[in-house]
């Protein structure tokens, strides 16, 4: 994995500190061309990995990449699925079964020919595979060497102790996409223990890692202990703690943990991208 992973929150009005900022971002990135311009600036600074959700608009970005193969030859995407708000809002409106019906491609009764929903109920893993394939469709022809599950889903599975789902995900991503499975979580130590307990060793785990312990469930101490002592491939996100930290002190902190392989960050201006990238390369 590259040391520097460029994120997409800024493009989709995700700002953990300010709803007002979110709105400004929504205005600024209204057109896909504005997103592409910033991505191109990231590429100009030497960044080659874009880590993004499966937001509908990413499909347009993928189209652009496929249309310009030379320009994006070295560029790769780490998808994170699903774009959770899409499903969360759908579940509020349509219920769980209604949401499955809406997002499983084709006629669900056709997909599960043998008795429709009754058959489905015994084959959740097949359903998971269909949903993964649906989300992955937009990346066809683009390099996706690592594929992540988003924290809402990871942590839901973790909370329910439904660890068999992790095994199934892990196997499917390797087999079908020939990619490395990754996990985004807000509960890194608990997740690593869970994955290890079902035989998933040395996993790629992306979690909040920052000096003030923001969104580091269970506390900063246990995170630091795991970063020092455990075997896994950590990616640090929310390193600026939603803007509470200055870039230099934030990234200097990460330098205490040599095991951290990559840092995920988003920025909207070339100067910010360049500054953060240089800091990461200096301290990591």
């Amino acid at each position: 994995m590259d040391k520097v992973l460029f994120g997409d929150n800024q493009f989709f009005a995700v700002n953990h500190l300010s709803d007002e900022k979110s709105r400004e971002q929504a205005v600024r990135f209204k057109e896909d061309s504005a997103i592409i311009r910033v991505l191109d600036q990231a590429i100009e600074t030497g960044i080659n990995t874009f880590m993004c959700t499966t937001h509908d608009r990413i499909a347009n970005i993928c189209d652009h990449m496929r249309a310009n193969p030379e320009k994006y030859h070295d560029f790769q995407i780490f998808p994170g699925m699903p774009y959770a708000h899409k499903y969360a809002n759908a579940v509020t409106e349509l219920g769980i079964i209604g949401t499955i019906k809406q997002y499983v491609p084709g006629n669900i009764f056709g997909t599960f020919a043998k008795g429709g929903m009754a058959y489905l109920s015994k084959d959740f893993l097949k359903l998971m595979e269909i949903l993964i394939d649906a989300e992955m469709k937009m990346f066809k022809g683009i390099k996706t060497p690592v594929i992540f599950i988003q924290n809402v889903v990871t942590d839901m599975i973790l909370g329910m102790k439904a660890y068999d789902a992790f095994i199934a995900y892990d196997e499917y991503i390797r087999k079908k996409y020939n990619s490395e499975p990754g996990y985004i979580t807000m509960n890194m130590p608990a997740l690593l223990d869970a994955l290890n307990s079902v035989g998933i060793k040395n996993p790629i785990i992306c979690s909040s890692i920052n000096k003030i312990g923001f969104r580091m469930s269970g506390g900063k101490e246990i995170y630091e202990k795991y970063l020092r002592e455990k075997e896994f491939r950590p990616i640090a996100m929310q390193v600026l703690a939603a803007g509470a930290l200055r870039p230099k002190e934030a990234i200097e902190y990460l330098g205490n943990f040599p095991r951290i392989e990559s840092v995920l960050f988003g920025a909207s201006s070339k100067a910010h991208i360049k500054e953060t990238k240089e800091l990461i390369e200096h301290y990591l």
Binding site: L94, I96, S121, D155, S217
Partner: protein, 337 residues
């Protein structure tokens, strides 16, 4: 370890199950739903025993508490049954469809001294909690006006939906979205006693309102505006905010930041004159497990602590939720005028 059961495995029920299960003091022993698909999933992937009948679950398991996360219409029979059997009860919001049922549940919980809580989770968001503390300390002086708002993209085109689009089940923007805002106004600023100019507006839904607008008068005499719309796709997710203006300044609060403007410095809180902004990063309540927001775990932590200690709760009691139901009744009645 205390033993828990979850009744209703929709969006909130599953989320509660995933938070209760890893809790260090709780064993999630049973879940209940009517969907065979969902029950199969729990049976296959989790250790909880599954039931399709809540009475059977409560009778067969020796539970300490239940979480009731079913459509609102079903709260009354389920909560009542649980309380009758001596179980502490966490109930999702809104509390009840009729005040009579709400009163009965509230009285029963009080009579049996059982821990009772309703899922108005915004009270476990650090920013709203800080706003309440500052207002209670009188930081703004005499209050002049307030605005309570929530917007989000739940129903953004015409189509039929679930129980949330059925008024008889407790669906609609008033019960689902506005209840949160009304409850925040009630607990942070003051209890609404009168509603005027209320509008329950349909935008895309056929059966229920998609927006709620009203002028609320509180028992202190203060009036303010309620403006809630769940068909506003300019928001990525539900965004709730409360603003209050007083003689000494103003506060604007949402789930991520609290903005305070003061005409004069405040020595008690060491705020300067002008704007001070407090962020969630400093105010968030620490939790051991995170799913969708600290507040969802923090509210369960609070409930579990009270169940274990036997201490009666002060936040999100049945009685407070009943007051919110009462305020919603005022708005409905006013909208028909």
């Amino acid at each position: 370890m205390i033993k828990a059961g979850v009744i209703g495995l929709g969006k909130m029920g599953i989320s509660h199950a995933a938070i209760v299960s890893p809790h260090k003091d709780v064993d999630l022993v049973a879940v209940c739903d009517t969907s065979s698909l969902i029950l199969e999933g729990f049976k296959k992937f989790t250790k909880a025993r599954v039931y399709d009948d809540y009475k059977k679950m409560i009778d067969s398991e020796s539970l300490d508490f239940v979480v009731v996360a079913t459509p609102t219409r079903l709260h009354y029979p389920m909560v009542k049954y649980a309380l009758d059997k001596g179980l502490h009860t966490f109930c999702e919001k809104p509390f009840s469809l009729t005040l009579k049922e709400g009163e009965e549940m509230t009285d029963l919980a009080a009579r049996k001294s059982l821990i009772n809580q309703v899922g108005y989770h915004n009270h476990f968001i650090g920013t709203f909690r800080e706003m309440k503390r500052l207002l209670a300390g009188g930081i703004l002086g005499n209050l002049v006006h307030f605005t309570g708002e929530a917007y989000g993209p739940v129903v953004t085109k015409p189509k039929s939906g679930t129980w949330r689009s059925d008024p008889g089940e407790g669906g609609g923007c008033l019960f689902d979205y506005a209840s949160h805002v009304i409850n925040l106004i009630q607990e942070i600023i003051g209890k609404p006693v009168e509603a005027r100019g209320s509008q329950l507006k349909k935008i895309y839904s056929k059966e229920v309102e998609d927006a709620v607008y009203s002028v609320l008068k509180l028992e202190t005499g203060l009036t303010g505006i309620l403006s809630v719309n769940w068909s506003d796709e300019t928001y990525r997710k539900m965004s709730t905010s409360i603003s209050v203006i007083g003689e000494k300044g103003k506060m604007i609060c949402d789930a991520t930041e609290l903005k305070i403007y003061l005409k004069e410095p405040d020595r008690n809180n060491s705020f300067d004159r002008g704007w001070t902004i407090k962020y969630l990063t400093d105010l968030a309540i620490p939790v051991d497990f995170y799913l969708r927001g600290e507040e969802y775990t923090a509210q369960i932590d609070y409930f579990v602590r009270n169940v274990i200690s036997g201490k009666q709760p002060e936040i999100n009691t049945f009685r407070q939720a009943l007051e919110t139901d009462r305020a919603m009744e005022l708005i409905i009645a006013d909208s028909k005028r």
